[in-house]
Amino acid sequence: MVDYEVMVGNKACAVACKLARVKVAAAFPITPQTSITEYLSELYASGEMPGFEFVNAEGELSAQIIVQAAARVGARSFTCTAGPGLQFMHHPMNDTASGRTPLVMAVVHRGLKSMQPDHSDLMDQSWLGWVHLYVENAQEILDTTIMGYKIGEDARVRLPVAVGYDGYVLSYTAEPVEIPPQDMIDNWLPPYKPPRSLFYDSPEAPIGRGGGDRGGGDPNMAWKIHHGAVEAAESVIKEVTADWAKLTGRSYGNGMIQEYKTEGAEVILTAMGTVAGSASAAVDKLWKDGKKVGLVKIRSFVPFPRKDFQELAGKYSAIGVFDRSIQPGMGGPSYREIKNSLFDTGSYPVVAGFVGGLSGKEVTVNDFVKLGEKTLEFAKAKKADAHPIWV
């Protein structure tokens, strides 16, 4: 039976671990992630997670190594962290991905310059070849954490998946969440079977670091295989998201992006994570005033929905991109990726790069109304202000 509960984002994450029958979790506490582990403990104590092991690690680096090892020998594994804790995990995260080790990690966003949320912590990890999914609300945390296992464990992908969601405004915010029944998830997500061989001579083996063995001595080979695996994740994300929609009735666009009122729109805004919620409320207001502004929520940052934006490019005269992080000196990450995606299409809508919500700065519905109006102005002028446009 489908159950409902008013719960905070961090509890939705713990409940998803229970439903996915996670066997091993290891973590080190850091605000705003800590209460996930507390909820896991409660679920375990109440007997709802038989056979579950929680390893209290002495730091994030160890936590990552513990879950990596557990996943390698076939235990469905989970870890979670935030901000500087994620940075401390950086080194072993590399091997988790290189070793083709599927697991799910919740990243409860905490910016790198304050305790409050922005996306700088997870953006910082985008070179490691994990799958990075950004989610908007507590229901999406629960759904995406379960989907994360299905995506990551798929033989075409076999990669770790990071599910990023904003600290405080989502991790501690309570809202109604639909909890799917355990037997439904058991049927949909069978127990994890690791590859038969962990050695490099097997066709399903990890990539390793040097990669010499599988590339006939070519040192490029490890990166080539890894790049291919991340690219292959795109179609798997789409399949799994469609499958989840059939199973639960809850749909998240095509999995890579989720469109809202884009049909008939002149321009679109893009957003990632919690701000997409406020942005969709802003879009309703804009349409009410006769301003045709749609919203594209970017769910997957790695792999980036390049094809989706190439298809969108010809339909709208301008795209107002909202980034909740900035790489100093380089600009907003999704702004750069979107521009990069459009170059080969031959259609060049105006692309405006807004940056805001950093270090927890509040981004309101009215802010997004203004961004929509600004994007319409840019479309009219056929030119946007220089990037970044601070919000």
Partner: protein, 276 residues
């Protein structure tokens, strides 16, 4: 959509109360959302939390800036205009205080109801945790949630006997809450009193956080310094006659000193809230 702002202190359960309101609304068949405003809070620090109730899933993820309702869990904060500020015109303030609604020094185009939630909490729970003790009153004055929903939600957070005690407190406040009375002063005072002191006690004045304060019986005191060692705020000074004395601006009234005293020479006395 209706929006609610909650004012309280760390330890009074304002954040839990926000979740109980959200759960109660959901029990009544509505959608809801409860957002706490967190910093590096600690017991006694003023904090706010917010609730939205709507007929559709709440997508807005910003703090509530113009609430319809403001609920204050703390007797001291109840005397402060901040609980009445930026409400929608005709908005409602529910304050925990012994004073009558018409006696509260609040201003604006607002209506005020009061209830002695601290008294109710001390009677039913034995502790000044006012969250459930004010929720019954809120169910009475707010047509958006029902007492039945509140009771169901309280049981979700506090099953068993603790739930019964909290529901008894909520029912008492449902019965005892005053009528809604328009504020006497229509114009809000220009000056804003800063009551949200973050940071740490040694640097900030936290005297307004106390519900109880330590009173030392110098006859009984043996001068062992246990209280001085265990005080988490360094809020006790050592007097010339080898006895402890409260540093008023640093003491948040936690009662650790009274608890640690081996000869029970420290009594935690209820602080009386006076009108300005």
């Amino acid at each position: 959509m209706i929006e609610i702002r909650l004012h309280g202190r760390g330890g009074q359960g304002a954040v839990t109360a926000s979740r109980i309101i959200a759960a109660a609304a959901f029990e009544d068949g509505r959608y809801s959302q409860a957002i706490p405003m967190y910093g590096t809070e600690r017991r006694g620090a003023p904090l706010t939390a917010y609730v939205r109730i709507d007929n559709v899933r709440v997508r807005e993820r910003e703090l509530v800036h113009t609430p319809d309702y403001s609920i204050c869990f703390d007797e001291f904060i109840s005397m402060n205009q901040i609980i009445a500020n930026s409400l929608k015109p005709g908005g409602v303030v529910l304050a925990n205080t012994k004073f009558k609604a018409e006696e509260l020094p609040l201003a604006g185009d607002i209506k005020i109801a009061t209830v002695d939630a601290t008294g109710i909490a001390l009677k039913h729970l034995g502790r000044p945790i006012t969250n459930t003790a004010i929720l019954g009153a809120f169910a009475k004055i707010c047509p958006e949630i029902s007492m039945k929903g509140v009771e169901k939600a309280i049981y979700k957070y506090f099953p068993g006997r603790i739930g019964d005690m909290n529901i008894a407190a909520a029912r008492a406040s449902y019965e005892q809450v005053s009528e809604l009375v328009p504020a006497i002063n229509k114009e809000a005072p220009k000056e804003v009193v800063e009551i949200v002191s973050g940071g740490y006690g040694a640097l900030k004045d936290v005297s307004g956080w106390r519900v109880f304060e330590p009173v030392v019986d110098e006859e009984k005191c043996i001068g062992c310094k246990n209280c001085w060692i265990y005080c988490p705020e360094a809020a006790l000074e050592w007097t010339a006659n080898n006895k402890p004395a409260m540093i008023s601006r640093s003491c948040k009234g936690c009662g650790v000193c009274a608890n640690e005293c081996p000869v029970k020479a420290i009594e935690m006395k209820r602080v009386e809230v006076k009108k300005k």
